[in-house]
Symmetry: C2
Subunit: 645 residues, 2 copies
């Protein structure tokens, strides 16, 4: 077997991995981009003002431009009277000069005309016709034509004027290098008339997934040949963009040396950083090793973290290189922990400030290995708003773990045990992550699945009735959903119930003429059962016990006679889909599923689905909203064949 397995025995501590990545040169260059596209970018160099803002002495209010000395001593009772000599609007060149004893109407933002050294706001003035007479003596107040302005306050030079350059003066440092451009910096650049902004280039990151079995989403998949859709390319590319980089997807590389070398070398020539992932076969790892050693330098291989042990750090050509593990959760966790900070730094972006939350462990957790563990966790809030933290680690390459976790708890290599109730700090996947409003575990049921669409940010793990009840008893979820009959054996509040018709899903038209459970026992039919966590399987078991009693035989003997009883598939549609694919003659399922998929259906019975609430959290808003949604779900139950209250 491959010799590289031994090479992981000397695992580097995580700090060394950080240092190795920091030693790689990711620094991108500089480019000029239009102001409209500058959001989120980082200034590559300082920007000095090349002009005064404002570029002229500017009126700060609507009113009249005047000579301050003409108003000395004026007040409410004894206004100064000035001849109105003209008007200046914003955006026009003044065609009036303010001589002593005169003024000009002026709009906010307009150029203060020559001669004026202050502006009075319109609220402190009155405008009078020159044909008005003086109220004291009946004489005309003026022998001139037109209008005058009475100014009822004294002004000092400079009042209500923003002088040229008062905001920003030509030659001033406006923004420093490294400034991230948000709305406000864009505003200042606009004011300075900067339309081409010198910014750091975003680091260009090549994404290469290795594995002959990978197919791009949207393309045809041949499952029988072991093909799977490529997850890491898109996940890591999105992570790269989130960190401020530009992701470039490259073709999948198989484990052929020439092909791998060609793709890695091409990617290295075009990008600042090359990321590979997904060497599920050991021989691909071997090939990558060889390519790195031939075309670059291997700085580090193997890091003492779980998940993610098989990380590679080095160079290919002139580019930095990091090899990520193959499982999606591992790849993304290692990417976020080690690579994203380096991309952000190269892009000039700060580490997100507030991406942690404190909570307490909802369950205990034990650790064996002496490695730093990056434990993916989910969050749930209790009734008081306290955050509870539970591990989410399928450890099996499951992509669902990606969305079932909210963040990561770093568990020190020396920690062997985390007690329930112990405080831990969770590094959130993003600062906006928050716990679901309601967290349920239990039966996979089509009505429930539609109900979830009516709730805001629910989380539901369809792990079956038995697992739902087990977890609810342990106090972690808000809700369990069960279709297994009988007492649950612990305190739980029923939030709502409905019924569903179950039976055998058969090919359309029921070509074998299946009539009921007896045929599974008596005839040579290939049957598809559900897994033992399924409430529906428990119901089937009870029905078979009834049949055994009827026939006067042991239930065990009936079960033994059914081809396929012991195995089982996890999800509610899977048996029906196997039947439709011709892989089985009958499957355990629901009338609703059979109708939805166009299969035949042989009814056997009806079972009750119960939604049970965590008795410690009856006041939690998300639980209350679920209760309401169930009580208002009559339309939804009516739309599903075989469903009722």
């Amino acid at each position: 077997m491959p010799s590289d397995r031994k090479q992981f025995r000397d695992l580097a501590p995580p700090e060394e991995a950080h240092e190795a990545i920091a030693s790689l040169d990711l620094e991108p260059g500089t480019e000029a981009i239009p102001l409209e596209e500058a959001r989120g970018r980082v200034l590559a160099e300082r920007v000095d003002a090349e002009l005064d803002v404002p570029g002229f002495d500017r009126a700060s209010v609507d009113g009249y431009a005047l000579r301050a000395e003409d108003t000395f001593g004026a007040d409410e009772a004894d206004p100064a009277r000035l001849e109105l000599a003209g008007v200046v609007h914003a955006g026009e060149r003044p065609d009036v000069e303010v001589e002593p004893g005169t003024c000009a109407e002026i709009s906010t933002g307009a150029v203060v005309p020559p001669g004026a050294d202050a502006v009075v706001m319109v609220e402190r003035t009155d405008r009078v016709s020159r044909s008005e007479t003086d109220s004291a003596n009946g004489e005309p107040v003026s022998d001139r034509e037109g209008e005058d302005v009475l100014v009822r306050t004294s002004l000092a030079p400079g009042d209500r004027i923003m002088f040229a350059g008062a905001d920003v003066a030509a030659g001033e440092r406006a923004l420093g290098p490294g400034t991230e451009l948000t709305a406000r910096e864009v505003g200042l650049l606009s004011a300075l008339g900067v339309s081409d902004v010198p910014v750091r280039e975003r680091p260009k990151v090549a994404i290469i997934s290795t594995g002959d079995e990978l197919v791009r989403p949207g393309e045809e998949l041949d499952s029988d040949a072991g093909e799977i859709y490529d997850v890491n390319s898109y996940t890591v590319a999105t992570g790269v963009e989130e960190a401020g980089g530009v992701a470039e997807l490259y073709p999948h590389a198989g484990d052929d040396y020439e092909e791998m070398e060609r793709i890695l070398t091409e990617a290295a020539a075009e990008c600042d950083l090359v990321l590979s992932s997904g060497s599920t076969s050991a021989s691909a790892v071997d090939v990558i090793y060889r390519v790195i050693e031939d075309s670059g330098e291997l700085l580090l291989h193997g890091v003492a973290v779980k998940p993610g042990k098989p990380m590679l750090i080095g160079t290919v050509g002139d580019s930095a290189y990091v090899g990520l593990p193959g499982y999606p959760v591992s790849a993304l966790t290692i990417f976020r922990t080690f690579v994203a900070p380096a991309i952000r730094q190269a892009a000039g972006l700060p580490e997100p400030r507030t991406a942690t939350v404190a909570g307490e462990m909802a369950v205990e957790e034990r650790y064996a290995e002496g490695r730093l563990r990056l434990m993916p966790v989910g969050l749930v809030e209790d009734e008081s708003g306290e955050t509870l933290v539970y591990p989410v680690d399928k450890g099996s390459g499951a992509t669902t773990s990606l969305v079932e976790a909210d963040g990561v708890v770093e568990v020190h290599p020396d920690t062997e045990y985390l007690a329930a109730g112990e405080r831990v700090e969770v590094r959130l996947f993003s600062p906006d992550v928050r716990p679901p409003t309601v967290f349920g575990v239990g039966e996979d049921d089509p009505a429930l699945s539609r109900l979830l669409d009516r709730l805001d940010r629910p989380r539901y793990l369809a792990l079956g009735s038995r697992e739902g009840l087990r977890r609810l008893r342990n106090g972690v979820p808000d809700v369990a959903v069960t279709s297994a009959p009988g007492e649950v054996g612990f305190d739980a509040e029923v939030l709502g119930t409905w019924t569903r018709e179950w039976g055998l899903v058969v090919p359309s038209g029921n070509p074998d003429g299946v009539e009921g459970l007896g045929d599974l026992v008596d005839r040579d039919l290939r049957f598809v059962n559900r897994t033992s966590n399924s409430g529906l399987r428990t119901t089937l078991g009870n029905a078979l016990a009834d049949l055994a009693a009827e026939r006067g035989v042991e239930r065990h003997d009936l079960v033994e006679a059914i081809d396929g009883f012991d195995a089982g598939v996890r999800a509610h549609e899977s048996p029906a889909r196997r039947v439709l694919a011709g892989k089985a003659d009958a499957g355990l399922g629901l009338r609703a599923t059979a109708e939805a998929l166009g299969a035949g259906f042989v009814p056997v019975g009806e079972e009750e689905v119960r939604v049970l609430g965590n008795p410690e959290r009856t006041g939690k808003e998300g639980i209350e909203r679920l209760r309401e949604a169930i009580s208002e779900a009559t339309d939804l139950l009516d739309s599903l064949a075989g469903y009722g209250r």
Copy 2:
């Protein structure tokens, strides 16, 4: 004057403005986008799995696929021996069937071949040639050709196999409507082969700035005609994009009814929301009123907040409409407070979680008006890491306020007074905002300005030596920079000093033959001074006092004789630029400035620039970094004409 002024007397409370905006229908439609572009978007509908993941029974480890029953009872000492019948790699269709007593080599991720029901990891096996002999009896262990595998453990059916659909089963609900798509959701969609993702359209927001004086950045500016660069269009557009909308910039609208109606109506037809801003002239507001009333509905005008009183909310055609105030800081504050939440909601994005920080007021602040005040504030950290909060409100349309503030404190209408030391909550402009590493106020100096480029996230307000000293005495900034001679009159630590040569900046070649300060007094020269906050002006005053003493006259008489002494410009390059523009014959300035701008220079003297540290914060890292940067700045001082230690 315009009648609308009265209409703002009945100001609506802020809650009514929120409700009015909430009543507008911004809901965009649905579109399908490629998975590669899905980052940050929001699912418009639920996504169910249309296939099983994995699509086949998949080996979880490198090893051998076998029949579990063939290993029953096997252990380290007594391995089961199986004939190696073939090999299955990832991504290929098995061409081997595992018969009893045989096994097939298998790679992680490969299809478990027919007949096998378990996989043993390679570490628990040994491979032996069939020509090997049994160590016990010396006989050949096998009479067959090829290799055998020794399995040193017992396996149960299903071991190390991930069954088809175990991760996600066809028909399962994968992601709910309203889910924001980050790296992990993109990963799950990839696994499901979803290449076109149904997402909510981003709300389309029209941006219209009103005002005849506005010019787009990059175009020619005629300052003498009162033109200014348009700030609000770009600031608000960036804010719209930050909130998850799509900003569409429309041409500037003047205050002509037909033009305004045409642009507003066109924008309303094309967008979900129309935002206008910048009606600096009252008549433009009048026109907008009339257009809204003719083509839509005005729901609310005038809100009891400061800044931002003149907000309009209504509809134009089928689109929502909000009119923002004209000053950039006011427009952005009102946008963020009232409009951005509505855009985020329409886009389906959550409110940012942690965009607040608590701090204490660094200074006292008094309030007169009974309006909610959205006070822009800056942040500075003291030595212990406590956040201090100080108001930033030039209240004059200054665009520099945009970048000098870090967030907003909401001050209740009934609050008349905030004491220094009082706790306040700051709503940050974005969750990533953090206080500058070092905050300085003081003299506008070219060497300092370049020094700042060498620091990480500094903030410096070039308000002059006098203002710097005043603020440092009040304890707000970390640092003051002064070029005024003499004692500062309070405790402050000198972090570093340098000298600069000052004098008179004259046109290139010094055509008037200016020889010194005496010429300003004795000849008819137009002089440009700096403002009284400038340390350089103080130095000039001292030099004139010396000249007066020399001549045996009063200093006052000399000053009176200088044309332009009393007025002054704020920034260090401004006098030189006025001279170069032919608007003056001599300006107060530095040799470095004159050389940089290609002007002539008449030296008068040398002054010392002192960088003074807040004595309460001598241990602060940012201050220490500045001290180091000054001591290492010899290259920088050498590069500036007239500078030295």
